[in-house]
Amino acid sequence: MILTGRKNRRGVTVVDFILILLIVFFGVSAFFNVLSYRKIGYRDKCYENQKAADELLWKIVYEQKKEIPQLNAAYILHQSDDSQQMVLIFLPGVGESFPEKVVVDLNERGFDRKSLCPLRKGDVDHPPVIDYWYGAGRWWCMHNKYHN
């Protein structure tokens, strides 16, 4: 509330200064909240990748005439040339003596660049990367710490 035009002579008051400080503080805090909000979108895409990987995993297990409890571990390799493979390791089943490794080319399966988490930083360098790994009964992402 400004009573007269002569307030200008006084410049910024202490109360104004405190309000500006609060605005800056909450503004910065809200900015980081907005960044977190944007990451939700990335996480949703990561979950979609995991779901797609899980569906493919079940298909492969079925095709291999195996069962999920036999699956020891699995991971998706993404090479620097954008080729990608899913590697599955099965424990020996009934009547089998040795564990078995199955490698599936994901590009042939039409798995379009879903082996990279959208939260990862930068492109893939020369060695391959593993963003998605299956163990302990579910898929895990190396970059997304939130799993739903």
């Binding site: 605005i23 991971y75 060695p127």
Partner: protein, 204 residues
Amino acid sequence: MKCYIHPREDALYECHVCGKPICGDCMKFGDDNEITCPKCTLDPDGLVHLEEMEENERLYDEQFSKGPGLSLKQRLAVKVNPIFILILLAIIGLKVYIGYQVDKSQVLVNFSDEKLMERGSPAAQFTYLAAQVFRHHDEHGKWPKNLDKLVGDYIDKEPLILKTNDAYSYTRESQVGFVLSVPNAKRFGFLKLYLSADGDIFIE
């Protein structure tokens, strides 16, 4: 130096008669065209003008900080800028809304070695460790010198083979990058279990 009539104004001149500092508003010219203050000016209009100015100054002081009738609360109320209040409320509202949306959409499930101990297998832990080695290279541009370098940023604690006190075998090699293997893999049903830097895992 301030004007002796308007204490908030900078003095620009000095009265030729009494020597007191005065601002531009108070500046008058005497008979000899010399700068004088209103009190020293013989012109009766100057005296009237002085009375007006003193009255204005008194009203001003009453309305602002020097006013004896204003409480601290009243003074603060005078100085609060409503635009700042609106901006602050808008930002806080935005922050609360986004915070609510963020909290609602995320469930933090931390992966830990303990979970692997409960539900995992040596091969699962082995491949998880390999994934972290790749990740280290991806983020640092080089293979870790040893697996202890992964502790903290990539794994919780020193990697020991599940349900044993044995360490994994990890060596950096110039040709193939690295080789990670499980020593004495027979105890877990494998003849061999190792992995190289091209991501190929060898099991028998």
